[in-house]
């Protein structure tokens, strides 16, 4: 096998998941993530794994719940409307403190929407993955390599914190092809003494459950869980800074929007405009620190998104309104062009952002 292979983003996720020790995949087909399922269908039977096309997205996420209860690494993937169907299961996973790895290759919405790329599930991923008080770790790849890297990372984080880690990609990331290195050092999954693996009459029963009969007990679980979330917020935020140190204007963008924005930043720099970019790699926890720091010198922020403006709220919160934040966006399956972002940069440079 050659050092690097040429992969679609969706395939990179599937292969990285297998390398990370995932042997159970449950899903239901939906464009633009179907290659993940197709890859798993081809590969899992050859390596003693399980690929199962469930009867629905809801069935698939509950199969994830079942396998995770036994301590095995397990995943499902879908695209926007399919993730909405899985949201009840995501909440149950959180309530039972089960690790799971989920992929959302986003398409345009709301409703059935379309099959072209989008980032309009930012709220869904970072705020409202399902009912009740809970969070998911949300990872936002901006290359096919990162689709693989963040999959490996996602499985590790999910196990470490006993919660769901989601890769939030978009149709372009899923469909585009780039060279990828799959040379990972995979850390073995941690011990899972809570897993339902059979007592062999040697220990007490393990019970995986999200129902609590006493409200005091349920409250305690919520408080404890949020202590863990606080630790994650302080320790797991990931981001990339690009030419931010001297920047008057700072772009916030993730995934495909960050790639378009990088082209625009390079062009603006050529024209003498001091502009940089902060690219969140974790959307939850949101990397607040670099934004707070940049707000000390930046005169304006621009949030570049394939949505009607969702991450912009986190940028506003993180910069504490020290500088205006404007939106540069396309929606419904359309992608901003580098020229559109450059226009927004020029507008901000001319004092257009208030």
């Amino acid at each position: 096998m050659a050092d690097k292979v040429l992969m679609k983003g969706n395939e990179a996720i599937a292969e990285a998941a297998i390398l990370a020790g995932c042997r159970h995949y449950f899903g239901y087909p939906i464009t633009p993530q179907t290659e993940i399922a197709a890859y798993m269908a081809k590969k899992m039977p050859k390596i003693g794994g399980c690929f199962l096309q469930a009867e629905s997205e809801i069935a698939a996420i509950n199969m994830v719940y079942g396998v995770s209860s036994t301590g095995k690494r397990v995943m499902t993937s879908s695209s926007s409307p399919g993730i909405a169907l899985k949201s009840e299961g995501l909440s149950y996973l959180a309530g039972a403190d089960l690790p799971a790895f989920i992929v959302n290759v986003q398409r345009g919405g709301p409703g059935l929407g379309g099959i072209q790329p989008s980032q309009s599930d930012y709220f869904q991923a970072t705020r409202a993955g399902g009912h009740g008080d809970f969070r998911m770790i949300v990872l936002a790849p901006a290359s096919v390599q990162e689709m693989a890297d963040l999959t490996v990372k996602g499985f590790a984080l999910a196990d470490k914190y006993r919660m769901t880690a989601m890769v939030l990609a978009d149709g372009t990331m899923g469909q585009m092809m780039e060279p990828v290195s799959l040379d990972f050092d995979i850390e073995p999954a941690p011990e899972k003494p809570w897993a339902t693996t059979g007592t062999k009459l040697e220990r007490e029963h393990n019970i995986v459950n999200s129902l609590f009969l006493a409200p005091e007990e349920l409250e305690k679980f919520n408080f404890d869980r949020y202590e863990r979330y606080k630790y994650i917020e302080e320790n797991e935020a990931m981001y990339e800074e690009y030419l931010v140190d001297d920047a008057d204007i700072v772009i916030a963008a993730f995934g495909i929007a960050a790639r378009v924005s990088r082209s625009a930043v390079n062009e603006a720099r050529k024209q003498g405009i001091k502009v940089g970019m902060i690219r969140p790699i974790t959307l939850w926890p949101f990397p607040k620190a670099p934004f707070e720091k940049a707000a000390e010198h930046a005169k304006a922020f621009i949030s570049v998104e394939l949505s009607m403006g969702q991450m912009i709220e986190d940028v506003q919160l993180a910069t504490k309104c020290k500088a205006p934040v404007t939106l540069c966006n396309r929606a419904g399956g359309m992608i901003p062009s580098p020229e559109q972002v450059l226009e927004a940069i020029k507008n901000a440079a001319n004092g257009g952002a208030k």
């Binding site: 040429l6 345009g108 149709g171 469909q175 060279p179 082209s263």
Partner: protein, 224 residues
């Protein structure tokens, strides 16, 4: 390729580069033939279609038969009614871009009886050893057999399109020759072309069999 057939059919594993090769072959054929058409019969891939180049085809006088739903939100495996012109209008020189794997090749099966009856076709398998599911001859052979079973047409040639996208070097192509020869030996299907990015052509001339340079088809400007 020695003898030009009226129909050039391109099949392969998905992501092997069929569409890009198809577009480039059509450009080359247009130099020799008056009525050249690309027939995009891909029922699998929702993005990155021949339709991305439709303006370019029009400018070069190349016909395009393609589902009107390609690159739209209509997510159904539709085929264009004009596809029957491929076999009915024998004045056309056609490059057929078939969808990936056996699932994509099913669409070709609809035209197979007439194609076999006319018997003026080249059925070519596009291969890329840098794709993770076809890294060697046995895995490539497996995909070839699945495609043949799905469409009912046997392969007559191999196109070695081994590449690593933008990172492809001449060495990557040189390293792939042995792989292409192994596929040839295992399947008995002859290697008819080695396709490379145009800028690698000079470096590889005379070093790999049946070299053919590709002008790449780029989609959107976010390459950094």
């Amino acid at each position: 390729m020695k003898e030009q057939k009226r129909l050039t059919i391109l099949c392969g594993h998905y992501g092997s580069g069929k569409t890009n090769v198809a577009v480039n072959l059509a450009y080359a054929l247009k130099q020799q033939y008056e009525r050249v058409t690309i027939a995009d019969l891909d029922i699998v891939n929702p993005y990155f279609r021949t339709k991305d180049s439709s303006d370019d085809f029009a400018a070069r006088g190349i016909g395009l038969i393609c589902s009107e739903y390609a690159n739209s939100n209509v997510d159904i495996p539709a085929l264009p009614p004009e596809m029957y012109a491929v076999t009915d209008d024998t004045s056309l020189t056609v490059v057929l871009d078939i969808g990936g794997d056996d699932r994509g090749a099913l669409a070709l099966g609809r035209l197979a009886p007439k194609i076999l009856e006319e018997n003026d076709y080249a059925m070519l398998m596009v291969i890329n050893r840098y794709r993770p599911l076809t890294p060697d001859a046995p895995s490539t052979y497996e995909v070839m057999q699945e495609i043949e079973q799905a469409c009912g047409i046997r392969f007559t040639g191999l196109i070695n399109n081994s590449n690593l996208g933008a990172e492809t070097t001449a060495q990557h192509v040189l390293d792939s020759v042995a792989y292409a020869r192994e596929v040839e030996a295992l399947t008995g299907v002859p290697l008819v072309l080695t396709t490379v990015r145009q800028d690698l052509y000079a470096e590889l001339e005379g070093k790999v069999p049946a070299l053919f340079g590709l002008e790449l088809q780029a989609k959107i400007g976010f390459s950094c």
